[in-house]
Amino acid sequence: MATAISAAPETLHTLPTDLVRQIQWRFADRYDLQMLIQSVRAVARGPVARLVAAGGRNSHEWTEQKSELLEYFDKSGITAVFMEPEQGGFIAGPKNLALALVAFELAWVDGGAATGSLAGCLALAPIHERGTPEQRDHYMRLAAPAQPGEERRPWRGAFCLTEPIPYVGVDTGMLNGKLRVESWNPGDEPILHVEKRGRFITNIGFANFVTAAVDSADPRIKGSCMVILEEGDPGTFDRGTPTRKLVHQLSSTGDPIFSLRIPASRIVGGYDIKDGVIVPRFSHSEVIEAVFRRTRVTVGVMTAAKLLSAVEPIIRYQRGRFRGAEMATPGSIRYELGLQQREDALHRLVDVWAAGEASASLGFAASRLFDELDPIEREIDEQLTQRGITGARARMKIFREAWDEAVKLLDLPAYDAQRAKLEADPMLRFVQMDSLADVLCPATKLWNTGFGSQMMREAVSLMGGYGITEDCPGFLGHKWMDSQLEATYEGPEAVQRRQLSVTMTNPVFLAQFRNWVREMREIAATHPGTGACTLATAMLLWLWSIDHLQHTSDADGSKLYHSARQGVTFPLADALCWLVAARCQILDVLELERRGGEDAALADGLHGLLNFMSDLCHVQTARASGEAGRICAELVFGYNRHPAWDAEGYKSCYRAEDLDELESIMPGIAACALDVIATDGSHAGKAGPCAGCAGLQQFQVLRSRLDICLTGCRLAKDRAAEAISKIMIPEALDYPA
């Protein structure tokens, strides 16, 4: 960090403790969350781990043992996390961070257990986000675990959007689920008929209610909506057969069929009657957008947990690898270090750890942002409703006006007094945070799960053959496979990239991103060891590239930055995710330095911990910058046509005879000329004359600067590797394998 470098800098002594995480992920002042973590951990590393170790994942069916986990969830407070205190919960206020922490702790052991718990919240989320107050109160209370003395089984829910092929999956637009009016007596509430089939619906094996997306098949109902189906509704409530999943077997998944009669009051968010037509207040996509926006973050946090959970078992495996051999006597390097004598084993573990840190930092940053955004979003919603502005378009117009103002203020220097307006004006704060949430959510879902699954594979490989057995400590093989599901459900990577390709061009986001470049340079000035400077350069390169691609065409004159041009927009979105994650990681280390110094319990090892965490940042920023640089270079140059040995290509070449003449005026020029056509028309044997970089010089300067900015990153990796070989770990894992 900012301190002078001594010959042997202080480094990490033990694995990061809870206190370290509380500070980094900013809940050091929230004892409700700290207790929640302990409570969830006891379930995860107790009954959940025991069930996995006992082979509970080897069946597709919803078994009694799996079902018992739900009761553990109820009793430990996991189920009630989603509820308000008056509904039976114990956490007041927004719960995004709380849910992310629950997901983190459960996924530390088993992703399926995490999914099972989260899917209950997902089922309630449409009601929570867009339900009427009555719906919210009714279903939240039903789903809350029984209070002491109460004789009641909590209701469980499932969320049903995905339909059998060829209907809705990724594309939320194409719904086959149908809603009709069954009977409607004047003055009475209409009775509706729902036809819906689901595919891969979590919790369906035991759900008592289902929130389902349906479209109107009746002129008396307008558009699509979400409806609440209950187990006892008249008609068919068929749970279907269990899905033969390769992953997440501790959650229940199946393809249900519903054909039910329900009162119109089950339309999520209610409805109005206009000219004899039932008009749902929210279309299914409006509900889903509000829901996924939050729940996708938690999914990304799950994969982060797995990466971090892999560190301890890998270290233990590496160290113990040769123990028991005749030559490996206690005290010998072979005995004490085992595989950790080998640089590559350590370096790869550094990569896994660094990726885990970055993804956790990104995921928790996103969940905290939603906690901040929630109340402001409601405030703005109420304000606009009071002003009679209800339609999505009308609201968008208002937001766009606020965008301009927000960008203007964001572009002012940090010390400019006018900037305070950004904080003070709820609308400006809202558009600022909203634009950020629009990026951080898909970035978390996309990068954490996508790159996370690649790094989980790396983690598995570090355990050798053990890695791909059921006996692998830490269940790493399961975790690897599970992460592929996390990359898929709630919208696979393509959907996240598609969303990012729109939201990352929001001027309010870009204005913030520009400020981050400055922020990273400032951090680099005091904390050069974090790699913040490298990241700032990579951010500049990305900014330059997106701007260039938005205003340029390809070799055939077709627009480059365009929603249909996923070959351009998607990789740029990927590049952004790398950068955003690395930034969050650095900010968390800074927070650790700031707050950790105030905490007596951290005083002992703080300096070494900060050094190590900074080295991990440096490793990660180097990787992130490298990825961003590679992607941007490919896009910036890749859509230009390479010159060929033809008339057009010759224009950029020297003719040998011209060069001879020039040589007499400018001695040495021949040595500088790139492509020369000989008098007999022959030329160097290659693809064509070398491509030029007209108009791209600035990019080239940035790119080569970025390469040079990597200076020192491998030294950081060496230091981190050395630290890992010395760190003290517990004698055994705190959950069975």
Partner: protein, 269 residues
Amino acid sequence: MRNGYHIVVCGSIVPDPLQTLEPIETPGGPALKNEMMLPAVLDPWASHALYEAANLASKVAGSKVWLVSVAPKAKLQQVMMTVAQKVSFELVAVDGPASGFGDAYGVAAILADEVQSIAGLDRSRLLVFGGWESASRGAGVTMQLVGERLGIADQFQGVDQITTQADGSFEVLERIEGGRHQVSMCSGPPALLGWATGNLPEPRNNPQVGMANMRTVMPALQRAKAAALAGSGLRFLSTTPPKQQRQTRIVKNRPVEEIAQEIVEWIGK
């Protein structure tokens, strides 16, 4: 017991038992390597005492439980995030060392002072609970010393069970050799019980209980005054970890008989 018991549990924190414990020399005397950085838990013996206290309090109306703890308060706070969810109690915290190398005499003096200064504590209803041992050193005398200082003559050590009667008297089972118990009748409080394991399982976490406890736990931690252990002339000439090598192994689905057999064979080696 007509108005219920006032049960004060004395207990501190120890490093999580899965950690490697390595004694080292520091300028301030012996310590454990990285002790401040290792995760901690409530001393298991004191935990049994606390669960028994809460169980007793729940059975005898009007009873109340306090937990008096001398420990580095920042670490104690972390431990409270688990312990406070298990049973209801009021915390009395003293910011001081919890190291196994502290002198039992000095620790007992602080504990006794703290017990005495609990507002509203009724000596005629007082049961002082603690562990008969500690997982950090097991001096085995701290609770006796606390009792002596408080002038409590009825002391029981290695307690596994307390059965109270309506008149306030109670029966106590203390461990003796050969896996047997000594049964005593005590006419009533005040008394001191140093617990062995008791009979209760670890209560489940219940965040609702935790949230209620936190209303007093957090202020208690903030108020905790710093106490230095009085130097009693105790000096350590040397410290070494126990001679035997620790071999931790995780085994699945092994019948108890087989585990016992293996231990017998191992001892015989």
